[in-house]
Amino acid sequence: MHKTPLLDQLESGPFPSFVKDLKRMAAKKPQVNDLLGQLERSYKEKITHWKHGGIVGVLGYGSGIIGRYSDLPDEFPGLEHFHTMRINQPSGWYYTSQALRELCDIWDEHGSGVLNMHGATGDLIFLGTRTEELEPCFEKLTAKGWDIGGSGSAMRSPSCCLGMSRCEWSCYDTMEACYQLTQEFQFDLHRPSYPYKYKLKFSGCPNDCVAAVARADMSMIGVWKDDIKIDQAAVQAYAGGELKPEGGATVYDKLDIKADVTDLCPTLCMSWDGKTLKIDNANCNHCMHCINMMPKALKPGNERGCTILLGSHAPILEGAQMSWVIVPFMKMEEPFDELKDLTYKITEWWAEHGKNRERVGELIMRMGMRAFLEAVELPPVPQSVRTPRANPFFFWHQSDFDAEAAGRKYYTTK
């Protein structure tokens, strides 16, 4: 075993350490011992010893295998090749225990046995195998019904929250949408033809449990169009302490509806007079705070679908960006043709104009939202304004306030 005094310190803290897990694996997998040795050396020298990328893959696919090599193969021969395989996860990350056993058996036979459940895109990550093991491993996986996921300049494996399978707030069937889009874009998932990565994430409600708004190029976030449904008797029960706030997931026994709910509403569209809760739904921005606090009293409305946002990414060519709205409301019904068509239009425009490693959000910043909207045939809508009510270059005059008071409309919807 390599000596790892720096890594050993990580085992001393209160939380479970990956070092402990790796040491256990190292007892039966020599490459994991080398992995610990190289990591210890990187901690000492403060540089990585990994080389990334290259030409490895399985026949016919350009995605799903990420080449990794050590730059110290003589010292750590088990890391001469240490490729990553990304396995396309099931929608909502539901596995049977049998499926997990099968996956672990395959990886024990063909790789290091080290797994990551799951990577940032959502894939199940197999960490560490040799080039000659890739095809046999892929063959065993496909025989069990699995497929490898996306990597490189391709459509990445779409991912979703568990949606309607367990969550009453889900405004559409995220798992079905994720599955259908995964099937639709199989060609682009396995055969990289984009300027860079393109991630789709599906969240059932604005709580956005898969953090789509920050992590996906294209986020489908469930939303309702009509009014929040209120059960006034249940609101009274929360006020009286008969119902615990947040479904009991809090140390507080009783909700102060004014302090904890209405005063924290970001648009101040709620009021509570001690008897009745009122919501000015036209000004609600669907933040979910009130619904989260009083789940038995408030529910999303009946007219449900999703808001589509575009453009988030970590720093690549430009700094990090969050997504912004391009479609305020889309019905999400099988077979999701409207969403598929829009995705094709967006990826075609981006593939045509994008530079190497330029994400779609960066291209929109470079070419402008107007060019984007024209290309994908979307109407400009007020909801696309990234920071509404905060534009420092718009100067209001008294005549504007007077005209507004007299009933002037700033925009109309058809």
Partner: protein, 80 residues
């Protein structure tokens, strides 16, 4: 004039072969080059011609800060 399928596959292969060691081509670079010479070529033909080259092992996908289509070569680590 649009190329028949077999000719298109060879046309693309020669393009990739000529670029070897000089320029790494992305799938979109290949599509644009084909459409420049043969504007009436359906885009899908190009997609499937590339697929045929990859499936047959005559070309491979590589990743060097982006995904490219290249002629197969020896893996660097195999030299150790």
């Amino acid at each position: 004039m649009a190329l028949p399928k077999d000719e298109l596959v060879e046309y693309i292969y020669k393009m990739v072969e000529a670029a070897a060691g000089k320029k790494q081509l992305k799938a979109k670079d290949i599509e644009k080059a084909v459409l420049k010479e043969h504007p009436d070529q359906p885009r899908n033909d190009v997609k499937f011609a590339i697929k045929e080259l990859i499936d047959g092992g005559r070309c491979v996908y590589t990743y060097f800060g982006g995904s490219f289509i290249e002629c197969p070569r020896v893996e660097g680590a195999a030299k150790h």
